[in-house]
Symmetry: C2
Subunit: 213 residues, 2 copies
Amino acid sequence: MPKRKEKKISESTIHRLSIYYRLLSALEKEGAATVSSRELAKKEKLTPAQVRKDLSFFGSFGTRGLGYPVKELREKIAKILGLNRAWNVAVVGIGNIGSALVSYKEFQRQGFFIRAIFDNDLRKIGSGHKGVAVSDVKNLREELKANAVDLAIISVPASAAQALVDEVVAAGVRAILNFAPISLKVPDNVSLRNENMSMELEQLSYFLVNGNG
Amino acid sequence: MPKRKEKKISESTIHRLSIYYRLLSALEKEGAATVSSRELAKKEKLTPAQVRKDLSFFGSFGTRGLGYPVKELREKIAKILGLNRAWNVAVVGIGNIGSALVSYKEFQRQGFFIRAIFDNDLRKIGSGHKGVAVSDVKNLREELKANAVDLAIISVPASAAQALVDEVVAAGVRAILNFAPISLKVPDNVSLRNENMSMELEQLSYFLVNGNG
DNA sequence: GAATGTGAAGGTTTTCACAGCA
DNA sequence: TGCTGTGAAAACCTTCACATTC
């Protein structure tokens, strides 16, 4: 069996893959057959070399002299990112942010389907959000398993987040998107991303004070 | 006049400053007087050297053998990030996400005050959200100026985003947080950050498919 | 001719390791 | 002794430049 070449792909490359995916989806809709690294780069203020290098980590998708085939490249990237399948998502905490996420149509469009919603507020439990019933957070573990949830979104207050994440991890979920403004501890085999909107504003605040550049 | 030493501070450092700020706020509430780089690092899975290096770009805030004074360091970072003052924020587009942001208490807590809300939906215009009236997006430019808005949050569909951002920039706003899943063009003197929640899930999807690490 | 794919160069960020100070 | 502050080294990421292919 040939040994797989174990190249470490950087987070920035994965992030840009996501960007290319969005650009290619748009190009495909417009009917473009091919696109060059230069064209892709210009749309996002990247360099052509960066685009080519990013793609080259995963294979040789282009044709010299011509560029990349839009449809095929989009499909290849979809496969790399795992977007060629549906993912089951749970939203833990259906407050302001949780509600907004449940209604966010972009998720479905990219193959992320919200299968379960949890809260600890008795007034919310049992009610429906976009066709999904709100479950008692006490049943978190069983229901995550019952719904084969792949990915959990944590949108509860900071004080409640770690305990719930521990439950989520215990249920076997291996990817977590955290909106609580706190640093969560997860085992090494679990992926965690933090979305802290105050911190985004703070970055902007820094540039307002210190100049942008 | 002494020439200011022009050191370029990396985005990662600014991002971590925001993290330190949060940790220090918590430590201050707990009554801690000092904290070492090792303690700060451990809470966020960073290295002590990283913490010290980050802080050293802005001055020598610590005491050898002792660590950093919690209260003073928090105040210093607040000043660096521009959090020692209030910022006027506008929310452009009061759909699911816009509504959630207006209700997000963390913003106020960090000194970001929502002073204006805009939409193009006549049913929404005139209604109030958390004490702020929704204005017609047609009046964007005047109202941004009238409210001395420093920072705009774009939470409209992708198709409407660029035109509105052009207006926002024309009104003199120099910092934009964009939730629309599209790449926006702004002049060099305007700071732009993108918050694309689908892309966050796509990063997680990649790690689910390819393994985490 | 046009554009990819990729080693090598260049640049940036992180980590090391230790002098220096409380 | 304990911990900071910081040059130097190492690791990492981006850009260059060109051989290669269509």
